[in-house]
Symmetry: C2
Subunit: 112 residues, 2 copies
DNA sequence: ATCAGATGTCGGTTTAAACCAACATATAAC
DNA sequence: GTTATATGTTGGTTTAAACCGACATCTGAT
């Protein structure tokens, strides 16, 4: 590849976090006693990519990871990953100034 | 595309969760008063893909999302998304039987 | 050791992600 | 209004993700 280096060689912490996430996804699946092929079919993906997600492959789409969480009933935690209410650093900064000079053309449809 | 439908048309809950995640990532960035171009450069990606992540694009690689969390100091939460210790359903099942018939060829290197 | 099931891997095809540059639009400040 | 900055969008290129089939390997049980 050699274009953006992010996908091939992400920061070490990112790589590590993804490996851990993958391992937890594998544990969740095994506990539910289903195979790679079975979850793959459920979420509409191939068996290989699910295996890659469980290995924490960085270049795999977030849809795969998310669909796995969904199939295990663990989806609710995802959306609150960067939850503004618990983003301490962000809260500190927000209290100073919410934003100096930015543009938010479409209010980034918050209708969910 | 039309091959796997997951990337183009994920389950509604998945789509929604990703949009919410994207919105929180945008909030986190704005609070830190940095631009798309700036975070993009920091994490080694293009400005466009960061914008897409903030819109919750499902087909974007998890590396982008993860690197954003990392740059905001919010990475620690990711790995515990499917944390076996708090996977209630998984715990229930695990107490019954840890696994009937599976294979874990390489112990999925847990060295982190 | 054998057998069956699960997972890993390889080769080849299709599709599109990620990139880049340039331009369009929107917002904020003046 | 104008200007400056940020974000959105478009077109084109490169690279590889995701797919599929077949085969290899590993594990667990017999």
């Amino acid at each position: 590849m050699r274009r953006g280096h992010l996908l091939s060689t992400p920061p070490y912490e990112v790589e590590t976090a993804l490996k851990r996430l993958g391992a937890t996804l594998r544990t969740a699946r095994l506990r539910r006693n289903i195979t790679l092929a079975e979850v793959a079919q459920r979420i509409g993906a191939s068996r290989e990519v699910v295996g890659e997600a469980e290995h924490g492959k960085p270049s795999t789409s977030i849809a795969i990871y998310t669909a796995l969480l969904w199939s295990y009933g663990l989806l609710d935690r995802l959306a609150s990953l960067a939850d503004p209410a618990t983003d301490d650093e962000g809260l500190r900064l927000a209290s100073l100034r919410e934003r100096r000079h930015a543009s938010t053309p479409q209010p980034l449809d918050d209708d969910f």
